[in-house]
């Protein structure tokens, strides 16, 4: 028998099996995403060719189409124009079109950024304060309040779409950044409070007490001592909140049209000539994927790091 390893450690065979399962799973989930990324680099014809092309000549046409508005012109008119100034103009001209201006994509994308990060910050900040209070203070009806907070997640948020729509119209919050930030914060807050309360409970109260004796107020102790130790929980909570508000579609369709419209309702409206412009949609979706991916990768080291291991002996 192999005695070189402990009984608690999995054998190398089961480790390999686990790795194999994870790889298979990753490949399956990555197929649609890689197909989407591939589509974004195809031209309009190869995107819809049958049989589908796995090997193709990459083109940036999708990205150019995503960021521009174009109009079709006659060959004579195109010939009368001066030579194209840059590569993307040339690309558009080769399709017998001219660029008439930038598309709305960049504006929608930055709306998504503002609303996504804004509501994530608000959810985590308010959630952390509430979670700390629930964790440390004797709040009257604590358990009932916590249950009430959780119960706001027991129905799909869209179930209250109509009252929210009417409320927002009366309050003038419809199609505003602030309105969307508030809405996503409200939806995310219950999750943030519950997740963070668990992490706050894990942080021994001796830390704040020590800080308070060392000359800090409770609020200062919270920022100086508690928050840094709750980083793991904050990172996890922020990722969940960010994913929700970044991807949210239904409310965005309902409540935003011009000023505060986010990317999810915008991307499907990218219509090309004679059918959907699949490369442009692929390009939009690929770019849409990036921020959440980068955000998660940045916060990943906090997710993996142990919390306060070893500094307090229980």
């Amino acid at each position: 028998m192999d005695t070189s390893r402990s009984y608690l450690e999995p054998s190398s065979f089961s480790k390999k099996m686990a790795a194999a399962i994870i790889i298979v799973y990753a490949v399956i989930t990555l197929i649609p995403i890689s197909w989407m990324v591939m589509t974004s680099f195809k031209n309009v014809d190869s995107a819809i060719s049958y049989p589908p092309e796995v090997l193709f000549e990459p083109s940036l046409e999708g990205y150019v189409n995503l960021f521009t508005n174009r109009s079709r012109q006659s060959q004579e008119y195109l010939d009368s124009l001066p030579a194209p100034e840059n590569w993307y103009e040339e690309l558009v001209r080769s399709r017998e079109m001219v660029i008439t201006g930038p598309s709305k994509f960049l504006g929608r994308y930055s709306n998504s950024m503002i609303i996504g990060f804004g509501s994530t910050f608000a959810s985590v900040f308010l959630g952390a304060l509430a979670a700390y209070a629930f964790s440390r203070f004797r709040v009257p009806l604590k358990d009932d309040l916590l249950f009430f907070i959780l119960s706001t997640r027991m129905f799909p948020p869209i179930a209250v779409a109509v009252p929210i729509f009417i409320m927002y119209r009366k309050l003038g919050l419809g199609d505003t950044h602030l309105g969307m930030i508030i809405l996503y914060t409200v939806v995310n807050l219950s999750l943030a409070v519950w997740l963070l309360k668990g992490f706050m409970d894990e942080i021994p109260k001796e830390y704040e007490e020590a800080a308070m004796i060392d000359g800090y107020s409770r609020l200062q102790a919270f920022f100086k001592v508690v928050l840094p130790q709750a980083m793991t929980g904050i990172a996890a909570t922020a990722i969940f909140c960010m994913i929700f508000s970044w991807n949210e579609y239904a409310f965005a369709v309902l409540l935003t049209q011009f000023n505060a419209q986010t990317a999810p309702p915008f991307i499907p409206t990218i219509i090309g000539e004679g059918g959907l412009d699949w490369p442009a949609i692929g390009a939009g979706t690929t770019l849409f994927l990036l921020p959440v991916m980068i955000f998660t990768i940045i916060l990943r080291k906090h997710l993996l790091r142990g919390i306060t291991f070893g500094a307090v002996r229980k």
């Binding site: 021994p204 001796e206 830390y207 007490e209 020590a210 800080a211 308070m212 004796i213 060392d214 000359g215 800090y216 107020s217 200062q220 001592v225 840094p228 130790q229 306060t308 291991f309 070893g310 500094a311 307090v312 002996r313 229980k314």
Partner: protein
């Protein structure tokens, strides 16, 4: 440093559990005061009330005759060493030591902080660890840093809650000696909580014995040892433990129970005869357990002592040193 007074302190937890009852106590400036008692006696609660971490039901806390009962912990200017290390794990040792000096209450210039931190680090022999993360220390080092964080400033009083209890025996002894030296050098006022009698006797100028939230006796270590006012207090100090025996055993009238320290029993000859139950050689002394009329009596004698089990043994007691107690376990004083 300050004189600290507690006046008629009452504290209950959850409106039911009595934690402190009528605590009256004065810690003089520069005094090393030890609170002694088993767990649950209210030692830690007393510390936390002085620090302001617990709200008291009634009573007053005075620093230099100034009533600070309702002040926030931060403004009381006390320092506290917790039983657990409670170093800030996201800071280095240096930052941990500097933390109280950087607080909004003090805000010392960085240069002065550096001087103070380095001085204290040298005193506690942790200079080489200043750049380490607090989590990268051994248990003994962590506790040194925790003590250092308290000593880095000069507060009204140092409050220490069993600071050495989580350390191994050898380190505990070393730090105990160091702590006493530091206290003498700084002329510091310290309130120290422990259930370890060796710590209490070696460190204390004065000992307060707590029982179920009440102070039952206050005195110097000698007074507590030689002149306890009840059986409970007599059992707090002394190793091997004091013998508590029925008064009738040695024909003492009007005495329900007597307390007899093991060193006040002479073995070899005397009017009393018992049987040896066991002997335990501790090196410098030997503890002999004797069965005397179905009571077990511990006697300790200098050096080693040879005897076999069930051997008959004669002994005498030092009647001047016998402590007499009444039916309520309280001391009977003789005029």
């Amino acid at each position: 440093m300050a004189k600290v007074e507690l006046k008629k302190l009452f504290k209950t937890y959850n409106k039911k559990i009595k934690a402190l009852e009528d605590i009256n106590l004065t810690i003089e400036d520069g005094q090393f005061f030890v609170l002694l008692g088993p767990s649950g006696a209210g030692k830690t609660t007393t510390l936390r009330c002085i620090a302001g971490l617990e709200k008291i039901d009634s009573g007053d806390v005075l620093f230099n005759d100034e009533n600070i009962t309702h002040d926030q912990p931060a403004s009381r200017d006390v320092s506290f060493v917790f039983q657990q290390y409670s170093l800030y794990p996201h800071y280095t040792v240096y930052e941990n030591l500097a933390f109280p000096l950087r607080s909004p209450m003090r805000k010392l210039p960085e240069e002065e902080i550096k001087n103070k931190v380095e001085k204290i680090a040298e005193m506690l022999k942790i200079t080489s660890k200043l750049k380490n993360k607090a989590t990268e220390l051994s248990g003994g080092e962590m506790q040194r840093v925790a003590i250092g964080r308290a000593l880095v400033r000069e507060p009204n009083i140092y409050l220490m809650d069993e600071p050495l209890s989580s350390l191994d025996a050898k380190l505990r002894e070393t730090l105990r000696v160091e702590l006493k030296n530091i206290q003498l050098n700084l002329n510091a006022t310290i309130l120290y909580v422990t259930h370890d009698q060796a710590e209490a006797t070696t460190l204390a100028d004065k000992i307060g014995v707590l029982k179920e939230g009440k102070i039952v006796q206050i005195g110097t270590p000698e007074e507590i040892y030689e002149n306890p006012n009840s059986i409970y207090v007599s059992q707090r100090l002394g190793s091997p433990k004091i013998n508590i025996l029925p008064g009738s055993l040695f024909k003492l009238n009007n005495t329900a129970k007597i307390g007899l320290r093991p060193e006040n029993i002479e073995l070899g000859n005397g009017p009393y005869e018992g049987k040896v139950i066991s002997t335990e050689n501790l090196g410098s002394e030997t503890v002999v357990a004797i069965n005397f009329q179905d009571n077990e009596i511990l006697a300790s004698i200098q050096g080693s002592y040879k005897s076999s089990i069930n051997e008959k043994i004669n002994f005498d007691i030092n009647t001047n040193k016998v402590l007499k107690f009444d039916k309520g376990d309280q001391r009977i004083y003789e005029r």
